[in-house]
């Protein structure tokens, strides 16, 4: 049976979600009474701001968080939903989870649906871990008989065997997460809707949780997975839906969509070109362009590719200058610095437009966002610097096995290993 012949499990047709901006501000009862009385007397509504009454249609602007969303998911498909903040991912998730209703369109689902927007929802601090397993299970729609049957397994999975009869208020936040995930992992829905709950807990526990996710995908469960973690999306999902500005920008096979998504994102940030008027700089030089690109061409910065940086500047002085590049990670920590004076010690650039390049070796950066600060120095003294001139995102190849979270560390070097038998 090919994938296309599997029955539809989720069908989303023309779904839109509108939020009314402005109308929810009127929360005082007296305002409503005034507005109502005014309408009755045929007078203008005193609660509407002056000027707004010209066009009654404009009172309360509409904001469509989602519009024209249609997609289908078949049985045992694992579909990822990606997009930037504000793209409508979380609204989509809320609609699929039945927390809020769409303004238009219909969502149909078949079978038992479980939705995990967070773990440990509804834990009561005064109740024991064991009591909370029953409570949380019931909240997630697990019948008591099912919890009874699985309680030992759940406790073992959480690893909180000794403290299971202690009130949850004495638990550390890590323990609560583990208990919450242990319950969630033992749900057996036909459709599973997951937010990035995977990025919780310590490494050991993450490995266990991801293994469980993997199993459920492998056992023919339908999974909708909303995530920022491209490694997890690329490893788990067969198909990806890319959302942008509340609409579906693209959907299709994972590699195709993730590639386009990353390329689109990087296009905006990997190149900066300045005109003569607004070029940053001073009497020493002006920066005219900075460009960062994978050495193999294309738009996606793979971990296995070297990365080229190109800097163009107008040099005004005849003195020797140096150009330096600071590499920062997403948290703003400087990973390392490299400069022209050390790279090409004898070089004295002439005046006028000059272009210098440097290449970061492959197998260097850990996956994630990186930024470059570009500076110019005259005779060893800093002259000017452009903060975060360009930015790019490094991804690693899909991994096998169950561990998809970001590896720890700022760098991810290819370290050679050797082995000899010491018998």
């Amino acid at each position: 049976m090919s994938a296309d012949e599997q029955p539809l499990m989720v069908q989303v047709q023309g779904v839109g979600k509108r939020y009314r901006l402005g109308t929810i501000n009127r929360q005082q009862f007296t305002d409503d009474v005034k507005a109502w009385a005014a309408r009755l007397l045929g007078r203008p509504d005193p609660t509407v701001p002056v000027g707004a009454e010209v066009d009654p249609q404009r009172i309360g602007e509409d904001f469509w968080a989602l519009r024209d969303i249609s997609f289908e998911v078949r049985r045992s498909e694992v579909v990822g939903i990606v997009g930037h903040n504000g793209a409508g991912k979380s609204t989509m998730l809320k609609l699929l989870s039945r927390i809020t209703l769409p303004t238009e369109g219909t969502i149909r689902m078949r079978g038992k649906v479980s939705s995990l927007l967070e773990v440990g929802t509804g834990f009561h601090p005064e109740l024991t871990g064991r009591d909370n397993i029953y409570l949380n299970g019931a909240i997630l729609g697990m019948p008591k008989a099912e919890v009874n049957a699985k309680i030992d397994e759940i406790i073992a999975f959480s690893g909180i065997t000794h403290h299971i009869d202690t009130p949850v208020k004495r638990y550390s936040s890590g323990m609560r997460v583990r208990l919450g995930f242990a319950v969630a992992a033992h749900l057996e829905p036909e459709i599973l809707i997951v937010d990035e709950v995977l990025s919780v807990g310590d490494a050991e526990f993450q490995r266990k949780s991801m293994g469980k996710m993997h199993d459920s995908a492998a056992s023919g469960r339908t999974v909708l997975f909303v995530s920022h973690n491209m490694t997890a999306v690329r490893t788990l999902c067969q198909r990806v839906i890319w959302m942008e500005h509340g609409r579906i920008r693209m959907q299709g096979p994972t590699e195709e969509v993730v590639g386009a998504y990353l390329a689109n994102y990087s296009k905006a940030t990997t190149e900066r070109v300045w005109s003569e008027e607004d070029a940053p700089g001073n009497a020493v030089a002006h920066l005219r362009h900075v460009r960062v690109a994978p050495a193999s061409g294309g738009d996606v910065f793979h971990w296995e590719d070297p990365i080229d940086v190109e800097i163009g500047l107008d040099k005004h002085t005849a003195d020797k200058i140096s150009v330096n590049v600071q590499v920062l990670n997403g948290d703003g920590a400087v990973l390392f610095t490299t400069n022209l004076a050390e790279g090409l010690p004898g070089l004295v650039l002439g005046t006028g437009r000059q272009v210098v390049t440097c290449r970061f070796p492959s197998h260097l950066f850990n996956e994630g966002d990186l930024m470059l600060n570009i500076g110019v120095a005259l005779k060893g003294w800093p002259s000017f610097r452009v903060e975060q001139a360009v930015a790019f995102t490094v991804i690693e190849p899909p991994r096998s096995g169950a561990w998809h979270a970001r590896r720890k560390g700022m760098l991810r070097l290819a370290i050679p290993w050797q082995h000899r038998s010491a018998q």
Partner: protein
């Protein structure tokens, strides 16, 4: 090929509108385990931190009754002649605390379950239903306490307690009172999503209502030409409270006045359910 299973067996359909009278009671039944867990949570968590624990369920109405017995029985002399003041006050305060408890819990149901409602789907009627149930559990304990006291009075020979056949009205009275309280609570809960001020007003309103009901005085003590009389008679709770007295103590009661309460309760319950349906749908968007 493709989808042979047709369009009918979608078991979850999420669409913008469904009429307010569709309460999805089948869905509520499917989530009965959640209902039970929430009741258990309410009962175990409330008294967990206290020294006396569940004994508070008994102490609270007892202290109030003794207080009223002392203040009104000795100073204002409101009790009916021949009935011990303690029993007289308990017979009304116990049902009154059911009413006020259910109203208070139900009206806070959306606010107190906000963290759940923004994260998980479940039939939204479950939390108000479960908090009503846990509140009524307290009521039944207190009612049992009343019977213990009444029996003690009878055994000691100081008061020949014999409520008679009117006692059979008790289940109907309890249901009627819960209907009134639940409906009103749902209306308040729905309105508080829009008008936050109501949250503060409801406490006062319930208190005021107590003085407008024959809780600390019997209706018989209010003169027919008194200006409060019409207010008391318009109050749908008056027949209920008087009815509890009639059932528990065998005092005079015009049972036909209960029809008015029943009509009022039906309207309030339907209005409450309708408003609540509307309010909880948009709740996750405004919270």
């Amino acid at each position: 090929m493709a989808d042979t299973s047709g369009n009918e067996d979608w078991n979850v359909v999420i669409a913008p509108d469904s009429p307010w009278w569709r309460l999805h009671l089948g869905e509520v039944w499917r989530y009965r385990d959640l209902f039970r867990e929430l009741v258990v949570r309410d009962l175990t968590a409330t008294y967990k931190q206290t020294i006396l624990g569940p004994i508070w369920v008994l102490i609270q109405p007892l202290i109030t009754s003794i207080m009223f017995a002392v203040i009104f029985g000795m100073v204002a002399r409101m009790a009916l002649p021949g009935i011990p003041a303690l029993l007289f006050y308990m017979s009304a305060i116990v049902p009154w605390s059911l009413f006020s408890g259910v109203i208070n819990k139900t009206s806070a149901t959306l606010a107190s379950n906000a963290p759940l409602m923004t994260k998980v789907y479940f039939p939204r009627l479950i939390p108000p239903l479960s908090s009503m149930t846990s509140t009524s559990f307290t009521f039944f304990v207190q009612l049992a306490l009343f019977f213990v006291f009444a029996a003690a009075y009878r055994l000691s020979g100081s008061y020949a307690w014999s409520p008679g056949t009117a006692l059979l009205m008790l289940p109907a009275l309890i249901l009627l009172e819960m209907m009134l309280a639940f409906g009103t609570g749902l209306i308040v809960a729905s309105l508080t999503t829009r008008y936050k001020d109501l949250r503060f007003l409801i406490g006062f309103a319930v208190q005021l209502l107590m003085y407008m009901s024959p809780v600390i005085f019997p209706l018989a003590k209010v003169a027919p030409d008194s200006p409060v009389r019409p207010v008391l008679e318009a109050n749908p709770l008056t027949p209920v409270i008087e009815g509890f007295r009639g059932a528990l103590l065998g005092t005079y009661m015009d049972w036909s006045t209960l029809w008015y309460s029943l009509a009022f309760g039906t309207v309030v319950l339907i209005a409450g359910l309708a408003l609540f349906q509307r309010a909880h749908r948009s709740y996750a968007d405004v919270v």
